[in-house]
């Protein structure tokens, strides 16, 4: 009896199989990997990338790209921390506004949304390629973060805020719950709403979508807005976990996020892919990071290995498409 690697079930769950093999491999080499402490820890770390990457998936499905998610994460995290720590004081009006944890979080989300919408506005209004528009936002966002924090971390944000990042509910870390909810929302958007259908349509054939009367600009605006907000969710998770907003928080996160999307099987040319694939992609990257640390591989080699994994994933994907 032969098992063909081209069997549709094997093909569909390829990344899942890869993840399984990876876990098996690491646990054979290190007995620290398969402990519940370590596994929960890994999941807690991954949840940040999962949040960012679900937003990124929508952008990439639309044949776009968002390089600014790391900077948006940084700025929204810094503003959230700043408001929690010192509130908002307008001395000229002799006004002081203190912020509750919820207030800080909502503001952070709005900052992320606004920056994402700005990306979308530039892209649709001036027909600027997403790569360029979001590259600009990458440096603008980081610069604003540095200005706001003056380059100094904002720390000690209160125990209730800290518990978001480090707490547990029903034996599962809160960040994992949050990322799970985000994933479910985006899965619902892509599978069950016209909005999601149009994202695929635009990525599949923008011209045909336009001629079908779809309001392409509105969809793009919304997608970049969502991507920005998802980055802010990631920012809240990072900040509360560390109980501190670092000025360089989220730096180069866009790369891990794009990697997760690509490893998860979403095509960079748009129209094809799944949010669940991205989640597996993010887990693969997280497990790989964790495993390489456990195996005492030098951080420099870690980067090399990660790059090779990304290449392999894309090459396998290409070969699958050819076999079709």
């Amino acid at each position: 009896m032969t098992i063909s690697f081209n069997h549709p079930i094997i093909k569909k769950s390829q990344s899942l199989i890869a993840l399984f093999l990876l876990c098996l491999f690491i646990s054979l080499l290190s007995d620290k990997f398969m402990t519940s402490t370590n596994l929960w820890n890994v999941l807690r770390q991954i949840s940040v990338n999962v949040c960012i990457s679900t937003g990124m998936t929508l952008v990439v499905l639309m044949a776009g790209i968002d390089l600014s998610v790391g900077s948006i994460l940084g700025l929204s995290a810094a503003i959230c921390a700043g408001l929690l720590k010192t509130g908002l004081s307008l001395e000229s009006m002799n006004l002081f506004v203190g912020f509750t944890v919820l207030g800080g979080i909502i503001t952070a989300l709005l900052v992320g949304l606004a920056l994402g919408l700005f990306n979308g506005w530039v892209i649709t209004k001036f027909s600027i390629p997403p790569f360029v528009a979001t590259l600009a936002m990458l440096t603008i966002g980081r610069g604003l973060t540095m200005l706001y924090t003056e380059g100094i971390p904002i720390s000690n944000l209160g125990s209730s805020f800290e518990s978001i990042g480090s707490g547990w509910i029903l034996g599962i870390p809160i960040p994992v719950w949050i990322s799970l909810i985000m994933v479910l929302i985006v899965v619902f958007l892509t599978k069950k709403t016209t909005f999601g259908r149009y994202i695929y349509a635009i990525g599949g054939n923008e011209k045909a979508a336009f001629l079908s009367g779809i309001n392409i600009n509105k969809i793009k605006l919304a997608v970049y807005g969502i991507a920005g907000m998802m980055a802010a969710v990631g920012g809240i998770l990072v900040t509360s976990r560390l109980n501190s907003a670092q000025p360089n928080a989220g730096m180069s996160y866009e790369l891990d996020s794009i990697a997760a999307v690509v490893i998860g099987g979403t095509s960079l040319s748009g129209g094809v892919g799944r949010v669940t694939g991205t989640v597996i992609g993010a887990i693969i990257i997280g497990v790989l990071n964790n495993g390489l640390v456990l195996l005492d591989v030098s951080p420099f080699w870690q980067q090399v290995v990660k790059g090779i994994v990304i290449l392999l994933a894309v090459i396998i994907d290409k070969m699958n498409q050819k076999n079709k």
Binding site: R197, Y200, L211, I219
Partner: protein, 496 residues
């Protein structure tokens, strides 16, 4: 002499060339005539090595040759000047001229001086008065065409194929081109010339070959034939599709187009469409005929709101003034547009039938109702007899005819008042063609108003109640179905 013996070429389901024979003589201008779809461009692609799988033989000076790619055809001395010019606007004329065969110094660097000097010599020969450093984007279309000819001369081509070389040229530029062709003839070059312009062919061509539906119909010397004769050979068909003869009176005006103008977005002072006005009546099938480049597609696109910034026109639908800033506006006003190219404009090929059909009817933000869109997809699969295992089949797996039916279904679910069809049967087999014809007739009988643009005369004659003829961006003539004939339409559509 370049000669072809029994060349046949088949695409899945369609035979484009059927045992075509021809001879192109050196020192002569050899004209190829044929309607759109006769197989001219396929023939050119075979001769220039773009298609290398075909039956039959190509003989060059008596020897059988095969070109497996464009480079090999070039090396054999065959050059082509395409209807759409293949120059890079941002590079200079010299850089374009030597693209891919640059002259280099012994050190391996570009020898700009030598290339510019050679460019000058060639430009003098073809009397092109352009400095070698000029960017191509600054040239007029006629001058760009001369650059293409210079390219052909530069690689010492003996056989130069020209595909509608004068379609975008002014009278002076045409004169100049013809003068150069005369000189090339004296040098013994073989010129193959494709054009719809009869007067031009009679002026410069010695030999002709007429293609129709992939067959060689006739070949001979120009001096032994007449314009009437050639037109008859181009259009005459063994199987004539029945012509429509309506006595129907259409009374209610549903669409009024007044003074429609479309400006060329690149060259601002050139109009793509000029002063077009017409009316469409309720339940009428209005045919729009024109040759390639006449502006049919652009006219339909402008009405559908695709060129809002470059166009001016007054539109009235049901007596109400409307303005279409984007396709959505046109759709909301009861228009539907089946575009010319189903693959790039009509369908999302990677999506299934049901999703494609529901695309134009969904709100921007809302919950998908899969069962309802599946049901309506099923309904149309049956109604239009779309051949597919199920409504969840991806559109990329369907045949051309079935894809076209999906596009039609996508628009019919919007329940349009006015259905605009642009080349609705291009590249699909005769059966699907007939099914679509019957559907169009049935829709019109149920009071839908239809604009049908096509470059196929039989199609226009079979369906239209009234026919508008376009040429060079203008409305030339209007015929009632009863008075229209193939000859009249073609004659009217030929550019002056």
């Amino acid at each position: 002499m370049l000669e072809a013996v029994k060349i046949s070429k088949e695409f899945p389901g369609v035979k484009v060339l059927n045992q075509v024979d021809f001879k192109f003589y050196p020192g002569k201008v050899n004209a190829i005539l044929g309607e759109n779809g006769a197989g001219k461009s396929t023939l050119l692609k075979i001769l220039t090595g773009v298609y290398n799988e075909y039956d039959g033989e190509i003989k060059l000076n008596g020897e059988i040759v095969t070109f497996s790619n464009i480079k090999e055809a070039q090396n054999a001395g065959i050059a082509i000047i395409h209807q759409e010019l293949n120059l890079i606007p941002e590079l200079s004329v010299t850089e374009n001229l030597f693209l891919g065969r640059e002259i280099i110094t012994p050190l391996g660097l570009l020898d700009t001086n030598k290339m510019e000097a050679e460019a000058k010599i060639i430009f003098e020969k073809i009397q092109l008065n352009v400095a070698p450093k000029t960017l191509v984007q600054k040239l007029k279309v006629g001058e760009q065409q001369l650059i293409e000819i210079a390219k052909a001369l530069l690689c010492n081509a003996d056989i130069i194929l020209m595909d509608e070389p004068t379609s975008a040229l002014s009278d002076n530029e045409i004169e100049n081109l013809h003068r150069i062709i005369q000189e090339l003839k004296i040098e013994g070059k073989t010129i193959v010339y494709i054009s719809h312009k009869m007067d031009e062919l009679f002026r410069i061509a010695e030999h002709y070959t007429v293609l129709r539906d992939g067959n060689t119909i006739d070949a001979g010397e120009m001096k032994n034939t007449t314009e009437q004769d050639l037109i008859r050979k181009m259009v005459g068909r063994d199987v004539l599709i029945e012509k429509k003869n309506t006595a129907n009176q259409f009374l209610t005006t549903i669409l009024k187009v007044k003074d429609l103008n479309l400006i060329n977005p690149v060259v601002k002072n050139r109009k793509i469409l000029q002063d077009i006005s017409f009316e469409l009546k309720k339940g009428e099938i209005l045919g729009i005929f024109g040759l390639m480049g006449a502006g049919r597609t652009e006219l339909l696109e402008t009405i559908f709101g695709i060129h809002p910034t470059n166009s001016v026109c007054e539109l009235e639908i049901d007596g109400k003034k409307v303005y279409h800033k984007k396709p959505k506006d046109a759709i909301n006003n009861g228009l539907a547009f089946v575009t010319e190219d189903r693959k790039t404009e009509g369908l999302i090929l990677g999506m299934d039938i049901s999703s494609n059909i529901s695309l134009s009817t969904l709100p921007t933000f809302g919950i998908l109702n899969d069962s309802s869109s599946k049901n309506s997809a099923k309904e149309y699969i049956q109604k239009l007899s779309i051949k597919t295992p199920s409504e969840t089949q991806l559109c990329q797996n369907l045949s051309g005819g079935n894809q076209q039916k999906v596009v039609l279904a996508k628009w019919l679910v919007t329940n349009p008042k006015i259905l605009i069809l642009d080349e609705p049967t291009r590249g699909i087999d005769i059966n699907a063609k007939n099914e679509i014809y019957n559907l169009i007739k049935e829709l019109a009988a149920n009071d839908m108003s239809i604009i049908l643009a096509s470059s196929e005369i039989p199609e226009i004659l079979a369906l239209s109640d009234r026919i508008l003829v376009m040429a060079e961006g203008k409305l030339k003539d209007s015929f009632l179905a009863a008075e229209a004939t193939e000859d009249k339409l073609l004659k009217s559509a030929l550019p002056q």
